[in-house]
């Protein structure tokens, strides 16, 4: 007690020792806030992953060379072995206490190709030509022929301008002449009389002048959609509806829909609007000005995409908005010439007045998209788009989870080239009927064997018989078809209080007992690089804590050593009046402990006040990528008292460590030497 009082008195009488306390307070404040932030990131990422499809656990076949990854990188999805008996796996997992839902999953990537705008226009015309003859079809064809002629004349003008400005090759010149010949007087009559040859010529000689078109990549999560929506209640349908049970279909991530299928002019206007909302200005931001400029450059293409009726209605709307008459292209270019003063009213007018007359989205609910597997090349798989969705509250529309699209497992299986049972049987039959049974695939790539040379048998002239056109995968499937096919992994959603580790252990135990080849991974591992961010944040926090501790240790040790040297005479006196060396050591160490505790407690309190007061309501986060890691658009640092106590204990430990050396050296001073130094 006396020793403690001595320590307190010493601290009070030496304000320089308070430096150590201040250091401890600073370190504790920074670490308290840091720990709360890391805890928030951990919670946010955990929420994002668990509630966007990863579930608490992922179960997969133990023979797989890799484990499930819901967020995969450029190398594509992991290689997984399908379950040998998925129904048995599902029954086993469902039987474990704490398991609320089991959802079969598979992730992959697909590509959607689109031609340039003339390709699309000609394809639409071809579809009309194919229709059975009727007065309605003829009228539609005539209208479209009129639109086509207007577009072709625009393309011809552009081609001529291009040829005047640049040196063009002979082939380009030939294509240009082909276009001019098509556009000779009487185009529409000729086209309506014989549409197919003209279409062939335009498709092969003219459309390619406008470029190759583009490919859109889609991240896909294959699942049983209705069950997925029930298991993950954050799924919110934005447009359209979920496919009914047993129907093949695609739900586009709302962000993916906006990014990839929206009219480019509208998308760029949205981008500018978002930029201005962040506080940028058109005058000061070159990137935003470029978007505005590109919109003006795109006007001819947009006008070319419009049908006659749309163009007429759009022109009327523009004349109303602009308050004067004019040609459609000129009016639109004028409307899209924007600055900071005109943007807001024009942006509002675009959606209110113009958008109803524009093809705002290239793909709408109810349309069919042809998906192509990008990892395994496959023929396109047509699938109906049922709507768009987002994960409510998990980041903005353009966060990683909201640009992932949901698709049924049967479609995804076709995309990855994994054959159905019927297709496997057909292959077996074909190998025999096509005489391929003896076509061996066994040979060493190193081998060199002289090829056989034979005279081809005289082939009788064959007639080309009509083929029965492939029908593609049917639009519906049975439950049995999904479950008996290859399923790669499944998400396990637990009840709120169920411990994931215990459930995983129980699944493993039961699987071993029943001879099922199963493994589980947690949400953090299944989250791939998103889950890895939590670990990285924790490592970063540890590194910062280590740096701070080292700094505190150095400065506190130096300060306390200096103070100990100044107190040599005092220590000598204390020793002379009978204080033991051990007691001197305890007094000096106690000073460090008290400074560390008081500083640490004050600092932790300060940090807590900062969290509760400064950011109690949360910090809004604009960036969609960050929102993903924080589990939503608001960062709410989570203060836990246990964390604060741990910070204080840590700080006290560091300061006590720093006080050890000065206390030891101070206690080693001999009374006689100390008093002599004091006298000097």
């Amino acid at each position: 007690m006396t020793l403690g009082l001595l320590a307190l008195q010493s601290i009070r009488s030496r304000p320089r020792s308070w430096i150590v306390g201040l250091l401890a307070a600073g370190a504790a404040a920074v670490l308290t806030v840091g720990v709360a932030l890391v805890a928030s990131i951990h919670d946010g990422t955990r929420r994002t992953l668990i509630e966007s499809g990863a579930g608490h656990l992922q179960v997969y076949d133990a023979r797989s060379p890799e484990s499930p990854l819901l967020v995969f990188g450029p190398n594509g999805p992991p290689t997984l072995e399908p379950f040998a008996d998925y129904p048995a796996v599902e029954a086993l997992v469902r039987g474990v206490e704490g398991v609320r839902e089991v959802v079969p999953l598979e992730v992959n990537r697909a590509t959607v190709f689109r031609g340039n705008y003339l390709d699309e226009m000609l394809a639409a015309l071809r579809a009309v030509v194919r229709e059975p003859p009727s007065p309605e079809r003829d009228a539609r064809l005539a209208r479209r022929a009129e639109d086509l002629e207007a577009t072709l004349r625009r393309v011809a003008r552009e081609a001529a301008r291009h040829a005047d400005a640049f040196t063009v090759g002979a082939e380009h010149e030939e294509d240009r002449r082909a276009l001019e010949s098509v556009l000779a007087p009487g185009f529409q009559q000729r086209f309506l009389a014989e549409p197919l040859p003209t279409l062939e010529l335009l498709e092969n000689r003219v459309a390619r002048q406008l470029g190759e078109g583009e490919a859109v990549e889609l991240d896909l999560m294959g699942t049983e959609l209705p069950r997925f929506a029930r298991a993950f209640p954050r799924v919110e349908v934005v447009t359209g509806q979920l496919p009914p049970e047993g129907s093949r279909g695609l739900m586009l991530g709302h962000g993916a829909w906006e990014q990839n299928f929206k009219l480019p002019i509208a998308w760029r206007l949205d981008e500018v609007s978002r930029g201005l909302a962040r506080g940028a200005t058109l005058a000061g931001d070159e990137g935003l000005r470029t978007l505005v400029e590109r919109n003006r450059e795109d006007v001819p293409e947009l006008v070319s995409r419009l049908e006659q009726e749309q163009a007429t209605a759009l022109r009327a709307a523009l004349e109303r908005v602009q308050g004067h008459p004019g040609a459609l292209e000129a009016l639109l270019e004028d409307f899209l010439t924007l600055d900071d003063a005109t943007f807001a009213p024009r942006y509002a007018a675009f959606y209110q007045e113009l958008a109803p007359h524009l093809p705002l989205y290239r793909v709408k609910p109810g349309d069919t998209l042809v998906l192509k597997g990008s990892v395994e090349p496959s023929p396109g798989v047509p699938v109906r788009v049922w709507g768009t969705y987002r994960f409510k509250g998990l980041g903005g529309d353009f966060s990683r989870v909201n640009i992932t699209s949901l698709v049924d497992l049967v479609t995804l299986r076709h995309l990855t080239g994994r054959p159905t049972r019927a297709e496997r049987e057909e292959t077996r039959r074909l190998v025999a009927s096509l005489g391929l049974a003896g076509a061996s695939v066994d040979a060493s790539p190193e081998s060199l064997v002289l090829p056989t040379i034979e005279d081809a048998p005289a082939a009788p002239a064959r007639q080309d018989t009509a083929l029965t056109r492939a029908e593609g995968p049917p639009p519906t499937f049975t439950d049995e078809e999904v479950r008996s096919g290859s399923i790669l992994h499944a998400a396990v959603v637990l009840a709120p209080d169920a411990p994931a580790d215990a459930v995983a252990a129980r699944i493993q135990e039961l699987a071993t007992a029943k001879g099922l080849s199963l493994k589980t991974v947690g949400w953090e591992e299944a989250g791939g690089f998103v889950g890895g961010v939590v670990g990285m944040a924790q490592v970063l926090l540890l590194a910062i804590a280590a740096l701070i501790s080292f700094f505190v240790l150095l400065v506190a040790t130096g300060t306390l050593l200096l103070l100990a040297r100044e107190r040599v005479a005092e220590v000598g006196t204390l020793r002379a009046v009978g204080m033991h060396r051990r007691e001197v050591f305890v007094v000096l160490l106690a000073e460090g402990l008290v400074l560390g505790f008081v500083g640490g407690a004050v600092g932790a309190g300060l940090g807590a006040a900062l969290i509760l007061g400064g950011a109690g309501g949360g910090i809004p986060v604009e960036d969609a990528a960050l929102q993903l890691f924080l589990g939503g658009p608001v960062l709410v640092p989570r203060l836990e008292w246990a964390h604060a106590v741990a910070v204080v204990v840590g700080v006290v430990g560091v300061v006590a460590g720093a006080a050890l050396l000065p206390a030891w050296r101070g206690s080693r001073v001999a009374p006689l030497v100390a008093m002599r130094q004091g006298g000097e």
Binding site: A207, R418, G435
Partner: protein, 261 residues
Amino acid sequence: MSPKSMLSACLAALLLSLPASAAETQKAPDPGAQEVLRLIDKRLSFASDYKGVVRMREIRKDGVEMAIELQVYRRDSHQDLIFLITQPKHMAGGGFLRIGKNLWEYNPVIGQWERTTRRGNIVGTIACEADFDRSRLAEDYDATDEAPETVNGTVFRKLLLKAKPGSEVAFPVMRLWVDADHNIVKRVGHAPSGKVLRTDLIRGYQRVKDPVSGNLVYHYKEVLEMESEEGTRLVVRYEDVELAPLSANIFTKAWIEGRTR
């Protein structure tokens, strides 16, 4: 030297040189590497239109098997080409149409045509467009000789081919092993880094009479293609080859659409 002895010496020299000259006239010098490519192209090219059936069996490393039958139509004079899938059922009617520089892919399920730049992985296999097209090695590649290989007493000439700038080829670098008659025995496609992408063993050729040129031309009969990265293997059989004029309007979208019902 006397005139007599000079004459004798000349005769002796002439006699000594005779066997060498005879040997030289019997064995023409080996053609250069680029010339070999031209010879290969010539042997594999037809002046007539071409129609044939290709049957393929592909086995992936994971054991998944695929059997495909397609009809191939070619008019090399215009670089026009059609692959029309006839089997299996779920792909029937689909195919590719090349007219000049355009390559179109047809999806029969929704009747959609798509302009594509994909020259590889035709019909979802490891085969590429060039496997069914006119041989154009000399146009696309520059060749140099590498050290020949001898297997079981047979010498194979080995050529290193590098794509010419601007040529559109599936493999930027290739190695060919050719036999004494300039038949390709093996070809290995490499990435620019030198990594092996695909190895093909040509198991057989068939000789066909070209009715236009009157020449006997060579065509592949069976080729084994081995893809390196995924370990997929594909046997390609070329059957029912007909060299005869094709209908004038065959290389059109309308013709392909009309083949299916």
